[in-house]
């Protein structure tokens, strides 16, 4: 069974995102440990990219802080391997196609697997372009996670049939970032996904309150939170582990009884 899917084994999953190296890897390490201690079921590690076209201002700024701090893909591989020694929930990388392609997809996946990472999200690699990446990921036991958006419509069945690990359901139009409300009716999307696959699906984009987290997890198998966490790091910098932990706890507590 997929390592990633194990995150969904004990109830609704809370998936927590952090940009590696924002503001430095030592802080990222403390933040990840705090997120896991407070109930995160899956850790999404962002490898920063210079021009993240699917991100809103919060994660764009985090990528910039991380790159300005000098973090590199190699640093992140070493960091993840170290982290893996005491972190036992599944972890995946989120980055952009060029970071993987230019590193060499084969070498990237080999090092990611060696670091204990079991999934990869590339928001600029849609269904039509996934074959080249997917074949290499599979070779190293890494699930290339597929995304489904409110505009996907007739594409959902094809995407779901080939999806691995879990399906990332994009809650609404637009880029990543917190939203005051999510108005998309996700029910038809999720029921279409369910018709075509048994793997779990989790909702992300725009979730920043326990109430939103609960609503989204009720509809699906879990909730993904990125900008909500990154905002706390932007504010607290090196002292983020505590406040991020409290935030994660409040989110996880909101979905525990579902």
């Amino acid at each position: 069974m997929s390592e990633l899917a194990k995150a969904f084994d004990h109830g609704k999953a809370f998936i927590a995102f952090v940009t590696c190296g924002d503001p430095d890897l030592e802080t990222t390490g403390k933040v990840v440990r705090s997120m896991v201690e407070n109930g995160a079921d899956l850790i999404e590690l962002g490898i920063p990219f210079s021009d993240p076209t699917a991100e809103g201002p919060v994660i764009m700024d985090a990528d910039k802080r991380a790159l300005d701090g000098g973090v590199t893909t190699d640093d992140i591989f070493r960091f993840t391997k170290e982290l893996r020694k005491d972190i036992h929930v599944p972890m995946l990388y989120m980055t952009y196609a060029n970071v993987v392609f230019h590193y060499g997809a084969e070498e990237f996946c080999r090092k990611a697997a060696d670091a204990g990472v079991s999934g990869l999200i590339l928001p600029d690699v849609p269904f039509e372009e996934k074959a080249d990446f997917d074949s290499v990921c599979s070779k190293y036991g890494i699930d290339l996670v597929s995304m489904v958006a409110p505009t996907s419509e007739d594409r959902i069945a094809d995407i779901a049939k080939e999806a691995k690990g879990f399906i990332y359901v994009v809650s609404s139009l637009g880029v990543t970032g917190t939203r005051t409300s999510i108005t998309t009716d996700l029910r038809p999307m999720i029921s279409l996904i369910r018709k075509n696959t048994d793997i779990p699906c989790a909702v992300g984009f725009g979730i920043s309150t326990p109430e939103q987290c609960r609503n989204m997890a009720e509809l699906s198998d879990g909730a993904i939170v990125g900008s909500g966490i990154v905002k706390i790091i932007a504010k607290h910098g090196k002292d983020s582990a505590g406040p991020v932990g409290e935030f994660v706890k409040s989110m996880k507590d909101a979905i525990r009884d579902l």
Binding site: F101, H102, D124, E128, E129, A149, T151, L173
Partner: protein, 396 residues
């Protein structure tokens, strides 16, 4: 040459967020429906002729030819088009297509401002809403074009992120498009981005090369030996080249921006200094570091100040059909001044890169050879910046 997935050799593709995939598929379907539609083509042809002032002249630059003492030089005068550059060709095509698709709003990125001005113009003409993203650095370099777009009724939003230039404006347009798709067409300004944009933009710009063929046959009774055009994303260059790709005896040369020099970090010469990558929806060549982070490029020309190049150019280069030369700021500024004094034509600083290569190569060719240089735009917008480059304290 284009396979069904929009590939030119290994280049191109559709590296886009899932949210935008149905939008680009819808665009491809609409384009396939209208591209051979007689009524669509009649309307576009009429806009080209009556509104944009096509065909543009193929002008024999007699003084320049005599002064350089080598090959005969013709200038394809895209600077004489309405709005002052080749950009209008693509924009009229895309705006008309968007209108047929029922879209009511155009968004566009712009570097030098010429594509933004052209998009604002087409939006005004066709009664569409228009939003243009422009890097804040470029807004500073091209203040007059910012005002021009606003005068035409467009909203101009500054993009302060990254280097505040064309690449950041493209990224912001892609982000904007994901927030509002139903009524909005992204009017991409060059032969780049995800399929079908490189094909659509090329087809609308290919009028340049078709006219060159007809005009040079009328004037000289034969094809030229060399075509030269400047390359940022590469739309005027592909427009110039496309009709001649099959004519192997015609040499195709793209002039890209070397900035301070290709051996310095202050360059935007993608083919000369970049490597293969995936960015802005396409696989192509990009200026990037060893970890695939996109490099902060530089050129005096805001229109060539882009870290990538259209996928069809990457392919033409790989198969050896076209070559790409690097022209420095200094060489371009010299050419800008040279053409102004020699022929009384002030070219865009972008086009001056192509002219600079013509100045280098023409004297090495015999007098019975023919070069056609595409003057992609006029240089009024650049006058203040060139004055400052020469140390004069001139501000618009």
């Amino acid at each position: 040459m284009t396979n069904p997935n929009g590939r030119f050799g290994e280049y191109g593709g559709q590296y886009m967020p899932e949210t935008l995939m149905n939008a680009v598929i819808e665009l491809e379907e609409a384009y396939n429906r209208f591209k051979d539609d007689p009524e669509f083509n009649r309307e576009l042809e009429e806009l080209f002729r009556e509104y944009a002032n096509r065909p543009s002249r193929l002008y024999y630059a007699k003084k320049m030819t005599e002064d350089l003492g080598g090959a005969k030089i013709y200038l394809k005068r895209e600077d004489l088009n309405h709005t002052g550059a080749h950009k209008i060709n693509n924009v009229l095509g895309q705006a008309l297509l968007a209108k047929k698709m029922g879209k009511t709003r155009l968004i566009a990125e712009t570097g030098a401002g010429q594509h933004g001005v052209a998009t604002a113009t087409a939006a005004a003409l066709l009664g569409m809403e228009c939003l243009v993203y422009m890097g804040t650095e470029d807004m500073e370099r091209q203040k007059l074009n910012v005002y021009r777009m606003r005068l035409l009724g467009a909203e101009v939003r500054g993009v302060p992120t990254g280097t505040g230039t064309l690449k950041d404006a493209v990224s912001q347009c892609m982000r904007e498009w994901t927030t509002r798709i139903a009524d909005t067409h992204y009017c991409l300004g060059s032969v780049m981005g995800p399929h079908p944009f490189p094909t659509i933009v090329r087809d609308f710009q290919a009028v340049i090369g078709r006219e060159i063929r007809q005009q040079i046959m009328e004037k000289e009774g034969r094809l030229p030996d060399m075509l030269i055009a400047c390359v940022g994303g590469g739309s005027n260059a592909i427009g110039t080249f496309y009709d001649f790709i099959k004519d192997k005896e015609v040499e195709l040369v793209g002039a890209e921006a070397a900035g301070k020099g290709i051996d310095t970090p202050l360059t935007a010469a993608t083919m000369n200094t970049g490597s293969v990558g995936i960015f802005h929806g396409m696989k192509s060549y990009f200026c990037q570091d060893k970890y695939g982070q996109i490099a902060p490029v530089y050129s005096i020309s805001a229109g060539l100040d882009y870290p990538g190049i259209g996928p069809e150019h990457a392919w033409l280069s790989d198969i050896g059909r076209a070559k790409y030369v690097a022209i420095t700021d200094d060489e371009a500024v010299n050419a800008f001044e040279y053409l102004s004094r020699c022929e009384g034509i002030i070219p865009a600083i972008e086009s001056a890169h192509a002219l600079a290569y013509a100045m280098k190569v023409a004297p090495t060719m015999s007098k019975d050879k023919i070069i056609v240089v595409t003057v992609s735009g006029r240089g009024d917008k650049d006058v203040a910046a060139i004055a400052r480059y020469r140390g004069e304290d001139l501000h618009e």
